[in-house]
Symmetry: C2
Subunit: 194 residues, 2 copies
DNA sequence: GACGGAGCTAAACGGTCGTTTAGAACGGTT
DNA sequence: AACCGTTCTAAACGACCGTTTAGCTCCGTC
């Protein structure tokens, strides 16, 4: 009773602990390979609690994915709002992945499993902003695709890169180097498109 | 008896049918989500045959992954042997993914699930060739990473791109456009590195 | 102080999983 | 003709899965 008398507030309530454990497990192992029993154990609750709060494994998964997508969406939207540049967009995407590494794994699995329909729905609101700033022509689209691929690829293949080159691709120094490279790549593309 | 009397040769023997069905299923759904019963049904055999020929689900998976990696390895090696250019390498990687679309999904899942150790082992023999041609400095490494990310990203995100922009990103025209863009990107990088 | 709903638990349910087993079919060898 | 190894099948096994159920505790309300 030294800590608190009203424990059931919010910050680490049962629901939040389940969400955190689910993000870890789902990003690391995928929907099918994760088990509600494991997630529940990591969250320190009973498996039945997952159904109580979320209605089932699939619904929990979709809650987690929706939250991850919302976070990414907010980041990219903020970057576009404050400065309409490919470099700024690339930097925002890079920083998002650098700070929340499991997100890329989760969202990539979602694309691989779901065929991209849900992800497209997420990105669609961004599209209006994107084309307003960067235009609609093929070169801009191709460049944007390359840029996002270059950013995401680094994090996806980070384990391979680490094994291959030695050193930790996720160390602050390596991340700073990569960040500089990606921003420069974005600038180059912007110039050639303009 | 009109077709053949010696059926147990090779081209579409039981083992080969299992491998083909397994590639489809494993690339589409992943190791954990795929079931040996489904693979066996698609191959027109009994589930027990998978254990008879491969020793188990995991061993079948590793056979399929090893074969996919070997095919990619051969492609990249051939491209490097006949012309040491980033553009040639990018084109070879692009063509591989364009012709065998499920491969990228399979290998990407392997990286996501396996942490990259096996993939690194595959790419290691290529590394000597790569550095001999492109050098070892940071700019070349960063550029190569971006290039491979840009190529792979297109195929991974093809469903999203299709939903978003309309049209089929895997149509011959779209592929040709993307191929040109990637090769040009490679050339640009090569110039700035040189 | 009985009531009722919210939060939670332990146990069980039906189903699917990967794998094993017992044995049938069959061509080749002796 | 008896034997044998190979190929293959149908059935069963035990484990684990996601989910449901029955019931407990606790607390604010009347």
């Amino acid at each position: 009773m030294t800590q608190s008398t009203q424990t059931t507030a919010a910050p680490d309530g049962v629901r939040e602990r389940i969400l955190a454990a689910a993000l870890d497990e789902l990003a690391a192992r995928g929907l099918e390979a994760s088990s509600v029993r494991t997630i529940a154990r990591d969250a320190g609750v009973t498996p039945a609690m997952i159904n109580y709060y979320f209605g089932g494994k699939r619904a929990l998964y979709e809650t987690v994915v929706a939250e991850a997508q919302a976070r990414l969406h907010a980041r990219l939207g903020a970057a576009l709002a404050e400065g309409p540049s490919a470099a700024g967009l690339a930097a925002a995407y890079f920083d998002f992945l650098a700070e929340e590494g499991q997100m890329q794994r989760l969202l990539l699995r979602e694309v691989l499993d779901g065929g991209g329909a849900r992800s497209a729905e997420l990105v669609r609101p961004l599209r209006a902003i994107l084309t307003a700033y960067f235009g609609d022509d093929d070169r801009a689209v191709q460049g944007a695709l390359s840029l996002f691929g270059a950013v995401a690829g680094y994090f996806i293949y980070a384990p391979v890169v680490g094994e291959l080159l030695g050193g930790d691709p996720l160390s602050p120094e390596a991340l700073a180097r990569r960040r500089r490279h990606v921003i420069q790549l974005a600038s180059t593309m912007e110039e050639s498109t303009r």
